[in-house]
């Protein structure tokens, strides 16, 4: 449940955002629907490392990937990436956590295939419980 709360908080962060509007609301966790229109964003929680602290607290190191799909020019996909960075610049409030901080660890480069651009950004999120 604990990591799920981070995912819920992240999904809530997208709601009503400039990024969500620009993507027509097509932001999906893990996988999108079949034949989904683009542009869209698929985000995935790739791994979670948990380390324990005396007293019962725990540190969560979470690695997220955000894959953008865009039909316009490659400049647009960079704009979406910047919008995501802005969106994650402030701390995330997740139930049970002190707070969750996102740091971009890898900025993707656009790749063109199947009449569309794709780019994947990676973020590390750190949060403490207890």
């Amino acid at each position: 449940m604990s990591v799920q709360n981070v995912m819920i908080a992240l999904a809530n962060r997208f709601k009503g955002s400039t990024l969500e509007t620009a993507l027509g609301g097509r932001i999906y966790a893990d996988s999108g629907p079949a034949d989904a229109a683009i542009p869209l964003l698929i985000w995935t929680l790739e791994s979670v490392a948990v380390s324990k602290i005396f007293g019962g607290a725990q540190k969560f190191d979470m690695n997220f990937s955000f894959a953008f799909y865009e039909s316009g020019d490659q400049t647009t996909i960079h704009t979406r990436s910047s919008q995501l960075e802005t969106l994650l610049a402030t701390k995330l409030s997740a139930t049970g956590f002190d707070r969750v901080t996102f740091v971009r660890t890898n900025s993707g480069v656009p790749s063109f295939s199947d009449d569309g651009w794709t780019m994947t950004d990676k973020y590390k999120a750190v949060g403490y419980k207890g």
Binding site: S51, I53, F54, G55, A57, K59, T101, V103, A125, Y128
Partner: protein
Amino acid sequence: MATSQYIIGNDGAVTIGTETNDQMKVKSFAVTLSRNSSDLTAFGDTGKRKKLGLLDCTGSLNGIPLLGTGSPITASNSTSGQSLLFYKTTFGTSIAATSTVNTAVLTLKLFDDGTAKAQIVSNVVFSSFAFNSDKSGDASVTASFENGDGNAPVLTWSI
């Protein structure tokens, strides 16, 4: 009596006086109980002769600094820094030769089930606090401590 349990790190617990929960949480610790060894070998001895001195307790704590919600305290001397763990026991009243040694009770439990079975308790002074912060997400503080007030550290161990 034969031992029947192996201690693993997760069994432990750490408290530093009453201030631990306010300013840092400990992730790991290292502690050494030691005595000075003096060489008293004399003419006529056919082997080394040594005596051990008083018991000392030294080590380090590695943890995560915590930020409170109260008003910030700016510590620039021993008085204003009294309530800051990072300041008080490093540069506090213990630096004055005439003052009471300013120690904190450090309890290092290697096994914690609510009773004292494997632990070291020492009245320590902290000789340093080393802070590290990484923009990519990690922050830590490492504290070095030493037995501080003339009383021997207390070791409790189930046998």
